[in-house]
């Protein structure tokens, strides 16, 4: 039993550490043009705290717990849904032709 618990903790720690490296690696080089949408997209991703909010709302028993959990569900939904929608709106505008710019650079 104790062993099981230990290995679970270590597994979570491994996931945590590996995720740090993945997070660093994935955005290590990104042009300033995309900083704003990237920030907004990452912002939407942490809206997945909605999952946590639903789990605690399921556990909640007293009125206080239920009210706080439901408030968390509302806030998390706003974060997640609003975040993805606003990022998509921003990115719609990038339909432009980034290829042409490269061609122009090679001309010089």
């Amino acid at each position: 039993m104790v062993n099981d618990l230990m290995s679970n903790e270590i597994a979570l720690l491994a996931i945590f550490l590996l995720s740090i490296f993945v997070g660093f690696e994935v955005v290590s080089k990104v042009s300033t043009t995309l900083h704003t949408p990237l920030m907004s997209g990452a912002n939407a991703i942490h809206g997945v705290i909605l999952v946590g909010a639903i789990v605690v709302a399921d556990h909640a028993q007293t009125t206080l717990e239920i009210s706080l959990a439901i408030a968390a569900v509302i806030l998390a939904t706003v974060n997640m849904v609003g975040g993805f929608v606003v990022t998509d709106r921003m990115l719609q505008m990038f339909k432009g032709k980034p290829k042409q710019k490269k061609v122009k650079r090679e001309d010089k």
């Binding site: 955005v27 997209g41 849904v81």
Partner: protein
């Protein structure tokens, strides 16, 4: 649904998030990346409802569904209707509510676990409450600053450093109290102090640096989500939260570099800098203001014109008019380009979004490093609603709030035209000496009106 299946699907959602961030880092795949992220989030949300011990509905399921519906009703219209110019503050607000949600999640789980919580869980709970509350109140202040509901200048108060340090000590002590003896009261005190700290921590940050703070708070919220994932023993939350925390930290660093700022200087600069007399004495030299016709003539006989758009252009909704002007000049054989400062607008890349919205051809948008060497061969620079990004004070006035920020060297051009509403300084609140140079012509008025007048007098030339 078995726990294993649930965890496997959760892992798939986590991979969606990695692919989303990867996609968002390149212009071609950015939109697809965001949609993959939304897919991952949807999968993650749906499977929570399906995963119960014996296939029953969740407790409080109706309430939860109503709450989600309400959240969608608030979030989607806000995201759809917001003006592109006001988008940075909306992102700040979304980030703040996310941090608040994470703090509430940890709080509720703590209330429920009571004495059953292990030390590690309590530590994670305290961390979530502290950082979640800081992110929440800090984001609200950035929102107020960007919406200009409060001053955009750094707010420095007497004994600021000491007060902030005391609040921080209070947070640590009350956090230790929670860990040592448990109970709800110390945790609430801890949360309250953290809320106050969030406010104090953002107040001294100058307007131009606010985007860096939003990005930092975004990374904070990511870490909060990861910690609450530990409290709930949910792998997906740990993955998603840590990803955002790590990538957000790198992004914050990249942004700070693009603005030529050190992160430390941004956050604590207002306290370490000596009190400044609004960056030097006010300039009393006369300035030259011209009419739309003067501007049109200057532009008409130029060979090369560079347009430097700033936030004022976006506020006046003049993107389309400026494109009309550029098209007209191109037709007359003038070489036209846009010089885009990395932080033109309110956030890095913001101006690119705003001009793309007005269908300005992508290839005319030239980044700062590329356009700077061309200014000496430029006849006219047309600065529309920008100020700080062309302010030479960033180069030659050590100690001013934007000192060290790379700028567009428009002063090297033969003529500079500023379209401005007034002599009021820019967002960072610093006077621009360039306005008083002999080569500078000022055209006062709303950017859109001014541009429309210039376009019509150009047509009649």
């Amino acid at each position: 649904m078995s726990r294993n299946l649930y965890d496997l699907i959760g892992l798939a959602a986590g991979i969606c998030f990695i692919l989303a961030l990867k996609g968002l880092s390149s212009p071609k795949s950015a939109r697809k990346g965001n949609l993959i992220g939304a897919l991952g989030a949807t999968i993650a949300t749906v499977i929570v409802f399906l995963y119960t011990n014996d296939a029953k509905a969740l407790n409080n399921q109706t309430l939860i569904l109503v709450a989600i519906g309400f959240g969608v009703l608030v979030g989607v219209p806000a995201a759809r209707k917001v003006q592109m110019t006001e988008m940075p503050q909306l992102v700040a607000l979304f980030n703040g509510v996310g941090g608040g949600a994470a703090a509430l999640v940890a709080l509720v789980e703590y209330l429920k676990l009571g004495d059953e919580a292990t030390v590690a869980i309590v530590v994670a709970t305290v961390f979530t409450v502290i950082v979640g509350c800081i992110s929440f109140s800090g984001s609200i202040i950035t929102f107020l600053k960007l919406q200009e509901l409060m001053t955009t200048r750094p707010v420095v108060f007497p004994f600021g450093r000491q007060i902030i340090a005391l609040t921080l000590i209070g947070i640590l002590l009350s956090g230790g109290w929670v860990i040592a003896s448990g109970g709800t009261t110390p945790l609430l005190i801890n949360g309250l102090l953290s809320l106050i700290f969030g406010v104090l921590f953002v107040l001294p940050v100058g307007g131009a640096d606010v985007p860096i703070v939003i990005s930092l708070l975004n990374a904070f919220t990511g870490l909060t989500v990861a910690a609450s994932g530990y409290v709930l023993q949910t792998t997906l939350l740990i993955i998603a939260g840590t990803l955002v925390g790590a990538s957000g930290t790198i992004l914050t660093k990249l942004m700070a570099e693009a603005m030529g700022r050190s992160l430390f200087g941004t956050l604590f600069g207002a306290f370490t800098a000596k009190p400044q007399q609004s960056s030097g004495e006010a300039d009393t030299r006369p300035f030259k203001s011209g009419s739309a016709d003067d501007v049109a003539i200057l532009l008409n006989y130029a060979q090369r014109v560079v347009i430097v758009p700033g936030f004022g252009l976006a506020v006046a909704q003049a993107q389309h008019t400026v494109r009309e002007l550029a098209d007209l000049l191109s037709k007359k054989g003038v070489d036209v380009a846009y010089g885009i400062h990395p932080v033109a607008g309110r956030m890095p890349g913001h101006m690119n979004v705003l001009l793309a919205e007005a269908n300005v051809p992508y290839e005319q948008l030239i980044e700062m490093e590329e356009i700077n060497p061309t200014f000496p061969q430029t006849d006219v620079v047309l600065v529309v609603g920008a100020n700080d990004v062309v302010n030479p004070a960033a180069k030659n006035t050590p100690g001013c709030p934007i000192y060290g920020m790379p700028i567009l060297d428009v002063s090297l051009a033969v003529n500079v035209i500023f379209l401005k509403r007034s002599m009021r300084p820019g967002f960072a609140g610093i006077e621009n000496k360039l306005l008083f140079e002999a080569k500078t012509t000022l055209l006062f008025g709303d950017a859109k009106d001014s541009l429309t007048k210039v376009v019509s007098s150009l047509k009649s030339l």
